[in-house]
């Protein structure tokens, strides 16, 4: 009996003396004395305090955390056993038999619960190790990439200037590829920060109209230089109220959405960026006439590392995390993000940000 109740009730941290006391508890004269039950519950709770700290370290709320739920389950089960014993004393001739059956079932439930919690712990540790690995690797990679970036800056400043030589073309390629690697690493780091709930936001009042307008001017210039048949139109009303959000993050979300619209309008077509105010929020929508998203893929579009099937056929670059990041960032800033799309006809992606308080 003591073996059965020992593991689920009392974790490995308990001393042998305490375990044997628990054994006596159920074989002695007063198996369910209130004092002993309270001791068990107290011990159980005290032993799990560390587990609650652990829940916090996972970044989960208590009600999502297996350790805490196990604790609650333990308390409910103990109360149920006691209640069953007292109830059976009034209605059944041998209440101890009923209590023992309930106790045995409870012990099995506890063992299974303990296995689930331990497995979760192992998965969480593995996930944390992976996340730390990504973080360390990304930081390590950013140093050489920073060196390449700064040394290239110097080469341009001191040796290249504005001349249009073949060397400049090659250096441009080096700079662009270096920047591409930095974007990938930055995205992975941002993903890690979001998953570790370690995202830094620096909110202020600013004009989303200006941010989106400037972004689209830059993109239109690049599209023109690349002789693309895509052009982005903007509809930004004058006197649009400011938003209250992190300006750099808001710009990164807008650029994810605009860049996707450009990327998936490979056959040309019009892209339109519209901003409207709806009182408490400012909404930015980007409409394209591109390849659209199939119904099957629409459910997955904000998932991590997801690339739509029709996209992947001809566009193999990209990690498939930008929309996941955009969603997490917008929601962290108090806004919403969404889309509607029809395969072959195009998509509308939109996000909202809270309007600044006047």
């Amino acid at each position: 009996m003591s073996n059965l109740i020992r593991r689920p009730f009392l974790s490995d941290e308990l001393s042998c003396a305490e375990i044997s006391r628990c054994g006596k508890l159920f074989s002695g004269v007063a198996p369910f004395s209130a004092r002993n039950v309270i001791i068990i519950i107290m011990k159980f709770h005290l032993d799990r305090v560390d587990s609650i700290k652990q829940c916090r370290s996972y970044g989960l709320s208590l009600w999502q955390c297996p350790q805490f739920l196990f604790l609650i389950m333990g308390a409910i089960t103990i109360i149920s056993i006691i209640a069953t014993y007292f109830a059976s004393r009034y209605y059944i001739q041998e209440p101890e038999v009923v209590a023992l059956i309930v106790l045995a079932v409870a012990a099995i439930i506890f063992i299974i619960g303990h296995i689930i919690v331990s497995s979760f712990d192992m998965i969480a540790s593995a996930s944390r190790a992976k996340s730390e690995f990504v973080s360390i690797m990304s930081h390590q990679l950013r140093t050489p990439l920073s060196i390449i970036k700064w040394q290239l800056n110097l080469i341009y400043e001191k040796h290249i200037g504005t001349e249009n030589s073949e060397i400049k073309k090659f250096l441009d390629h080096l700079g662009e590829e270096n920047q591409r690697m930095l974007h990938i690493i930055n995205d992975l780091l941002e993903l890690n920060r979001i998953e570790d709930r370690n995202l830094y936001l620096n909110p202020s009042n600013f004009s989303l109209g200006e941010v989106v307008g400037d972004l689209i001017d830059r993109r239109n210039k690049s599209l023109l230089e690349a002789e693309s048949n895509v052009f982005i139109e903007t509809k930004i009303p004058e006197n649009l109220p400011d938003v209250f959000a992190d300006k750099i993050k808001a710009e990164s979300v807008a650029s994810h959405i605009v860049d996707n619209a450009i990327r998936y309008s490979a056959n040309g077509g019009k892209i339109e960026a519209t901003l409207v105010s709806s009182g408490k929020y400012i909404k930015c929508s980007v409409t394209d006439q591109g390849i659209g998203i199939s119904k099957k893929d629409q459910k997955m579009i904000f998932s991590k590392f997801f690339r739509a099937g029709n996209v992947f056929r001809y566009q193999t670059q990209g990690l498939g995390i930008r929309l996941y990041l955009a969603k997490a960032i917008v929601e962290a800033m108090g806004g919403k993000i969404g889309f509607r799309s029809e395969e072959g006809k195009g998509s509308v992606f939109w996000f909202t940000l809270p309007a600044a308080k006047v």
């Binding site: 800056n153 400043e157 001191k158 930055n186 920060r193 830094y200």
Partner: protein, 122 residues
Amino acid sequence: MAKKILFIEDEARLQEAMAAKLKSDGYEVLSAFDGETGIKMAQEHKPDLILLDLILPKKDGFEVLEELKAKPGLPAVPILALTNLEDRRSIERCLSYGVHSYLAKANYSLDEISQKIKEALQ
């Protein structure tokens, strides 16, 4: 007289690139390759601005900030954290020491950093 900038950074090639840029912009550049030397040089040379990496040998950037802010005469010197750490805890910790700006090295060109230095010195 040229303004003095102390760059505390353990990566020699970043030091080299930054020094070349800042010298061409007319600044006098002092280089420290670890936190301990950085603190000593800050006390000795009284720079007009400090560029500070956070992951450093001997004393890390946070320890440097803590000690610099406690030294007489130094708390007013603008410090720009120039690091590749971008997590919330590091940023908030740095800002609590009153750094002027927090810049991710990989995300800023030398011209952009030079612009930030100019703003901080005004």
